[in-house]
């Protein structure tokens, strides 16, 4: 479980996070949603240590990540997998080498064991046989799936996904969402997904945290999100005509 306790973060005069507390449970896909500038990506970056909070704590199964130095954080980092908005695959490496990279760095597995693991995770994301392709030869959806394969290669306990659907067509987007949810449940991973995509919210939002102006404004599930009287949340949820039309039906 990941616990975020009273996180504050400012960039100069601009206070982005204003005392956010939340819990992320294993086997549950928690969605962090909100409009642009609401602080959702900043919250995730504070959780994984890419930014340091001004105050507050992030606990990974009780271990205080924020008080650790770079060296002390390494064991926790090895338990974290992350899917980036632009996939962040290493351009100079093939799909296979991208996935093998963390295995080479942190495990003593033989070449055959590593290859087995690579083939297993590629099969898991429906990309079997694409080992030798370079990131430039992949579509946006395939890149995201390789990103997921790389993120789960080390059997992470915690998975972070930053805007996993951005730039994808609706079909690929649903595929990525379902994959994240399946992996989370299958391996009992604690998963946090930053998104503003309402399809994801309705599809995989078991647990949703809505941020507004740097504060946690609402928390619940996708079953509750359409029936709340929270004005800011309703403005966000019903911002698209499609959502409005579907719910009327």
């Amino acid at each position: 479980m990941i616990e975020v306790k009273d996180i504050y973060k400012s960039f100069g005069e601009n206070q982005v996070l204003k005392g956010i507390s939340a819990e992320f449970k294993p086997g549950v896909t928690t969605l962090i949603i909100g409009g642009s500038g609401s602080g959702k990506t900043t919250l995730m970056k504070n959780m994984v240590g890419l930014h340091e909070p001004d105050s507050g704590k992030v606990l990974y199964d009780g271990r205080d990540f924020t008080s650790m130095n770079t060296h002390e954080r390494i064991p926790i980092r090895k338990e974290i997998g992350m899917l980036f908005q632009g996939s962040a695959l290493f351009d100079s490496m093939t799909v296979e080498k991208n996935i093998r990279f963390p295995l080479d760095m942190f495990t003593e597995q033989s070449k055959a064991e590593k290859l087995d693991r690579i083939n297993f995770v590629l099969e898991r994301v429906n990309l079997a046989g694409k080992n030798k392709l370079y990131p430039t030869e992949l579509s946006g959806g395939m890149k995201k799936r390789v990103g997921i394969a790389r993120a789960i290669a080390m059997n992470p306990k915690y998975l972070f996904c930053d805007e996993p659907n951005s730039g994808l067509d609706p079909k690929s987007s649903i595929m990525i969402d379902e994959l994240i949810k399946e992996i989370t449940e299958e391996y009992n991973i604690t998963t946090a997904v930053v998104t503003h995509d309402m399809n994801s919210v309705m599809g995989i939002g078991d647990h949703i945290i809505f941020l507004h102006q740097g504060k946690k404004w609402w928390e619940g599930s996708n079953k509750e999100i359409t029936s709340t009287d929270n004005q800011e949340l309703n403005d966000f949820v019903f911002a698209t005509k499609l959502m409005e039309t579907l719910l009327k039906k």
């Binding site: 992350m82 980036f84 908005q85 632009g86 962040a88 963390p102």
Partner: protein, 244 residues
């Protein structure tokens, strides 16, 4: 502002020299970078060096109009100016453009496409993994390139002197071998080592702290070349003052 950047640069250097996660992977990266930096720059360094030597010989001959000065001195002047200044400094300035811009744009692109964030999330020391192999490859290969440049430059001078009739081959070789001070080669190697350190680390710094997009990567690349060139010229003067 200068002190802020200098402080950040020193902190980056500290991070670069942190203990590597797995030496075998770093070793492979170092060899790859040695090929890129060394073999990849051999062509341009060879061409430049031959012409530098040729031009130095021809222009020195043009300035020596007095019959009282033996023509063999042209060989000596070409040798000393090549070893002490032209090969290490001019080659390093060219390499700052070639290697420096490449390092800054490569690391800068990795920064803006979140590849460096991905390394950090994995628990890898990103500055060490990305910069240390380039730095080690640079300080090994650039002095070697300078040695090649010295030989080719003197050869260029020899050929140009003979071809133009400015100095005979025998006179040129006599000049080359007279009053040679081996310490000049040591100075050239010290310069090459320091310039290699500057080119790789300054360019890596510019790339590593890039933020934004493609435009900023281009700007980082330009800054890397400009700052490296200035730092090379300043340190050239300091080394000359200290060692000669």
């Amino acid at each position: 502002m200068i002190f802020y950047h200098f402080g950040k640069y020193i902190l980056l250097l500290k991070a670069i020299f942190r203990k590597p996660e797995k030496l075998s992977i770093y070793k492979n990266e170092i060899f790859k970078e040695m090929v890129d930096i060394g073999l990849g720059s051999l062509g341009i360094i060879s061409i430049i060096s031959v012409f530098i030597g040729a031009v130095t010989t021809v222009q020195t001959a043009f300035q020596l109009t007095s019959d009282l000065i033996p023509k063999s001195i042209i060989g000596g002047i070409t040798r000393d100016s090549t070893i002490l200044e032209l090969s290490p400094t001019v080659c390093s300035l060219v390499l700052a453009g070639k290697i420096g811009s490449s390092i800054a744009s490569q690391i800068g692109t990795m920064r803006v496409t979140e590849q460096i964030d991905a390394l950090e999330i994995m628990g890898i020391n990103a500055p060490g993994f990305l910069i240390l192999p380039k730095l080690l490859a640079g300080v090994i290969m650039i002095p070697m390139l300078v040695i090649v440049a010295i030989f080719l430059s003197i050869s260029g001078g020899y050929l140009a002197g003979s071809a133009s009739g400015a100095v005979t081959a025998a006179e040129f070789i006599q000049g080359l071998t007279t009053d040679f001070i081996p310490f000049t080669v040591v100075v050239a190697m010290v310069k090459a080592f320091v310039f290699a350190f500057i080119i790789t680390t300054v360019s890596a710094y510019q790339g590593y702290y890039t933020s934004g997009g493609a435009l900023e990567v281009g700007q980082a690349s330009t800054k890397a070349v400009v700052i490296s060139c200035i730092a090379i010229l300043v340190s050239d003067y300091i080394i000359a003052q200290l060692l000669l």
